[in-house]
Structure formats: structure tokens, C-alpha cells
């Protein structure tokens, strides 16, 4: 794993070109609630959710689909507003998207009309940086995610894993303090996913950014998170909070991790069964 890390991530590229890389900020969730209204009925997507995420903490939101974890991420990204409660980022209430928070999706969501480098430059262009500055930053970020030589490739020429790495570089380009990830590796094969885990972990430890990572994969959450919040669906609520103290980097196959996964899964199953027993 260490070898893979060294091979896959050239953090010196990042440190040399981004001396003032922004480190993480806190996230405070204060009774965040989301209810969707559909003509006749209302659906409670998220019951009041309160927690504090420390600066530089890696928190995984774990749960089956429909448990409100993506909604929560959209709220932090500023794409949706909570029905009640609020989220503070670095002490300031979130009301709109902001460059201190970057969001990554399961699909890389790269723009097909732009080449790889122009995709990475997209956020910098919104900040009206000079062409030279944009190109320099894009190149060093692409070097960091090991895509040097692909600057002018079209998006469709890249594999799924490469696309996610471009998306990561594009998000890091705006130098966010918080990275929000919505099942970013869900569509990747197991080996590529392992590499992406190592890569993400290395970037995280090099930059100290706060990461909120949504997944339905228990082992993925255990491999990456400092803390895991397990959600249950209908209505979305936290049923379990686990602090993961296993040493890093973690192997998905280690006994300790597999044992913890089994425990968390049994809690999830019980919660799911309880939810299913209720009238929908």
C-alpha cells in the first residue's frame, strides 16, 4: 500500500506549486432538516441533523440510497437550502455555493466540450485568473493526479478512473477548504478504486482539507474515514456514529477492518428492517 502511495501520488508537485494551499475549516450542522413537498404529501428526507466536523477531519456519511446523505451534501455545497436549521462553514452560514467548498459526484461531470486542461481550469476561469496562471496550476494539478501528457485529451478518451482524477484536480484547482464527495468512486472497478483511495488519502494528509465523503460501501467508509456517521432511510437520520482509529493507510482486507464492517452492517440492517416495517 505504501508503495502504491509513493507510486501514485507526487505530493511534492503540489507543495512546490501551491505553497499557500488552504487547509480545512470546521463544519457545524445545527438541526439541519430537509422535507420535500410533493403536491399532496411531504417526504421527510432528513431528520434534524446536528454534528460538528473538525477542521481537517475526514467524515464518511454511510447509508443506503434514499437516506438523505446526498441531500446533506448538496446543502453543504450550497445547491439546496435546508427546510430548517443551518450549516456553518468556518463559522459562516452557508447560503450559496462558494469556492471554499468543492463537490465531486459519482460521475466525473467533466464538460465534454472542453479538453482535460480546460476542465481543470474551469473554476480558475470563473475567478478571472490570468491564462498563464491557470495553465501553470492546471499542469501541476494534473501532474499531481498523474495525468501529465493528457492535458489536451478529450474527456471521452479517458477511462472512468482517469476522469475522476481530472474531476479531483478540477475541484482542487479552486483550492477549497472542504471537499464534498458524493459516492465518487462508486462506478469504478475495485482495483482502480483502491488506487483512488490511496490517492485521496495522500492528498488529504498533504493538505489537511476537511472531507465529507458519502458512500454506501461500509468498507470504503472504514478505509477512509476518521469518523463514520451511519444513516437510515425513511426518514433519513443518523443511527450510529463510529470513530475509526485504525492506523493509516488501511487495508480493505485487514481483519480489524472486516470485523468493524460486520458490526456496522448489522446495525444498518436492523435500522433498514425497522424502516421497512413502518408504513411508507
Amino acid at each position: 500500500m505504501i508503495l502504491v502511495l509513493a507510486d501514485w501520488l507526487d505530493c511534492s508537485a503540489m507543495n512546490s506549486t501551491r505553497p499557500h494551499s488552504q487547509s480545512g475549516i470546521t463544519l457545524q450542522f445545527r438541526g439541519v432538516t430537509k422535507t420535500f413537498y410533493d403536491r399532496a404529501r411531504s417526504v421527510e428526507a432528513l431528520q434534524p441533523f446536528t454534528t460538528d466536523v473538525a477542521a481537517g477531519e475526514f467524515v464518511c456519511l454511510l447509508g443506503p440510497s434514499g437516506c438523505g446523505k446526498s441531500t446533506l451534501l448538496n446543502i453543504v455545497a450550497g445547491l439546496e437550502l435546508p427546510t430548517a436549521g443551518q450549516v456553518l462553514a468556518g463559522g459562516k452560514p452557508i447560503t450559496a455555493p462558494g469556492s471554499e467548498r468543492a463537490l465531486l459526484f459519482q460521475e466525473a461531470a467533466l464538460f465534454p466540450w472542453l479538453d482535460v486542461q480546460a476542465n481543470v481550469e474551469f473554476g480558475l476561469r470563473q475567478q478571472r485568473r490570468s491564462a498563464q496562471e491557470r495553465a501553470d496550476m492546471a499542469r501541476s494539478l494534473l501532474a499531481m493526479v498523474h495525468l501529465t501528457g493528457f492535458e489536451h485529451s478529450a474527456v471521452h478518451q479517458l477511462s472512468g478512473g482517469m476522469r475522476q482524477r481530472v474531476a479531483l484536480a478540477r475541484a482542487l484547482a479552486i483550492d477549497p477548504a472542504v471537499i464534498l464527495m458524493d459516492e465518487p468512486f462508486g462506478a469504478l472497478d475495485a482495483i482502480t478504486r483502491d488506487r483512488m483511495h490511496a490517492e485521496l488519502e495522500a492528498i488529504w494528509s498533504a493538505t489537511g482539507k476537511t472531507i465529507l465523503f458519502v458512500t454506501h460501501n461500509v468498507r470504503e467508509a472504514l478505509a477512509l474515514g476518521d469518523r463514520i456517521l451511519t444513516f437510515s432511510p425513511r426518514p433519513g437520520r443518523v443511527v450510529q456514529e463510529v470513530r475509526v482509529t485504525l492506523p493509516r493507510p488501511r487495508s480493505l482486507e485487514s481483519h480489524a477492518l472486516v470485523d468493524m464492517a460486520a458490526q456496522i452492517l448489522s446495525v444498518m440492517r436492523t435500522a433498514e428492517a425497522n424502516a421497512a416495517a413502518l408504513p411508507a
Partner: protein
């Protein structure tokens, strides 16, 4: 590096299998067509001023070229369509964007545009002549009415089908206001926009020809009309050929390459299936 680095080479548009046989077949077909046309014309069933063969048509074409009529006519018609099309673009693109993105505009103007699209633009000609006389403005008005709604509807459908994921990604990366339109919504809509532009061009061309039939000044449509007045079917056919030629070459030189470019960019041409 991962094994996927071999995909780095640029995509190559594959010519369809056996493209040489395709060309041979096509050339043979047209040769046969011309030959039977000539034979039929010389059979004596119809007088040559009603049904001339290709040889007479080419003769007429050359004579019009020599008299300088044809180039002048092409220039006049070309200028009209360019002005009309440019105006249609300037109105149609923002209008399509507005209808596609703003609900109340969609509910009001949107329905009107769909209704007007159903009206062949030549139907505007009597009104245009009443309002503006037999003037350049009248004919350009008809051209605009032909192209405008296709362009508007193309832009609208492209904008409506912009994947919400692109918008979410762009917004979290800091794009807002006008930048969201110019850098995300319009480029994302490009395939549908192009289809609308192409259809708009075809409609503009048709409207122009129909309109010019009624005008007295020299133009392609007017050459058709004078051919009729002079009982000269070979001139009519020669002008028809020129009109086809111009239509096909605009498509081949402008729209086809643009569409191919978009398809390559969007990855619709590759055979890679990962």
C-alpha cells in the same frame, strides 16, 4: 502508468467499410441517371424547350455564366440569405435561451413560437409586401421568418436537455450569471443547437427562393421565373441545379464538419466501449 494510457491517441473517424465501392456505386448511379435523362429528352416525346436533356441544361448554364448573370444572381441571393440568417441568429439564440430557461417565457412566447413554426414562411410574403413593398426588407423579413423559429426551437431543446449535473458542477466551481450561459448551458446544448441552425438554414434557403420568384430584380429565384417567361426550361433546370449545388455545398462545408467536430468531441464516434 495505468493500462489505459494507450487511449491517448486522438480519435480517428473511421470511414465506412468499403468506401470505394460506395463511390463507384454512386458514380454509376448518376451516370445512368444522366444517360437516361438525355435519351428520354432526345426521344422526341416532348419538345426540347419543355423537356431539355442535360446537354442543353449545361449549355444554358455556361451561357448564363458567360453573360455574368449567374454570379450576380448568386451574389444577390447570397447576400439576402446571409443578412436574413444573421438576423435570425441574433434573435433566435437569445430567444431560445430565454424560452428554455425561464418558465413564464416558455409558457407564453414558447407556445407562440411553436405555432409560428407550423406556418410556412412564404405565407408571410403577402403581408411583408403590404408592409414594406417589393423591397429587400420584405424578402429578408420572409427569410428571417423561415429561419428564426427553427433556430429558436433548436436552442430551446438543447438548453432544456442540459444535464443538471453539468449545472451543479459548474455552480460549485463558481460559475454564475452570464458565465453559466456562455460557458456551460450553450456549449452543453451545442448538438441540439447545431441541428436547429442547420434546419434554420434549410428553411431560410427555401423561403428565399420562394420569395424571389415574385421579385423583379436579378436573383436566383428571379432567374427561375424569367426562364419560365421565356419558355426556356433549360434555364430553369440550370438554375435549379445551381440552387441544389449551393445547398449541398453549404451543408458539406459548414454544417457537416461542425457536426462531425461535435460528435468527435462528445465521443460519439469512437468504438471504444469502456
Amino acid at each position: 502508468m495505468p493500462a489505459d494510457s494507450q487511449k491517448h491517441s486522438p480519435p480517428v473517424e473511421r470511414s465506412p467499410a468499403g468506401s470505394r465501392t460506395t463511390w463507384l456505386r454512386r458514380a454509376g448511379f448518376y451516370l445512368l441517371l444522366l444517360l437516361s435523362w438525355e435519351l428520354l429528352a432526345r426521344s422526341g416525346l416532348w419538345p426540347p424547350w419543355l423537356f431539355p436533356g442535360p446537354s442543353l441544361v449545361v449549355e444554358s448554364l455556361i451561357s448564363m455564366l458567360n453573360k455574368g448573370l449567374l454570379l450576380k444572381a448568386v451574389a444577390v441571393s447570397g447576400q439576402r440569405i446571409l443578412i436574413g440568417y444573421a438576423i435570425s441568429l441574433m434573435i433566435g439564440v437569445p430567444l431560445g435561451l430565454a424560452i428554455g430557461r425561464v418558465r413564464w417565457i416558455h409558457e407564453t412566447l414558447g407556445s407562440l413560437v411553436v405555432g409560428l413554426q407550423a406556418l410556412p414562411s412564404v405565407c408571410w410574403l403577402p403581408l411583408a409586401i403590404l408592409w414594406m413593398g417589393l423591397s429587400e426588407r420584405a424578402i429578408i423579413f420572409v427569410v428571417v421568418m423561415g429561419a428564426l423559429f427553427s433556430i429558436t426551437l433548436g436552442v430551446e431543446s438543447g438548453v432544456k436537455n442540459t444535464p443538471p449535473l453539468y449545472l451543479k458542477a459548474a455552480r460549485t466551481l463558481g460559475a454564475r450569471g452570464l458565465a453559466l450561459y456562455t460557458q456551460v448551458i450553450l456549449p452543453a446544448a451545442l448538438p441540439a443547437v447545431l441541428a436547429g441552425l442547420k434546419q434554420g438554414w434549410a428553411f431560410a434557403w427555401r423561403s428565399l427562393m420562394a420569395g424571389e420568384l415574385l421579385f423583379f430584380s436579378l436573383s436566383l429565384g428571379n432567374l427561375l421565373q424569367t426562364g419560365r417567361d421565356l419558355n426556356d426550361a433549360s434555364q430553369v433546370m440550370a438554375v435549379m441545379l445551381v440552387i441544389i449545388l449551393i445547398g449541398v455545398s453549404i451543408d458539406q462545408m459548414i454544417f457537416a464538419p461542425a457536426e462531425r467536430q461535435v460528435r468527435i468531441r462528445w465521443g460519439l464516434y469512437t468504438r471504444e466501449t469502456d
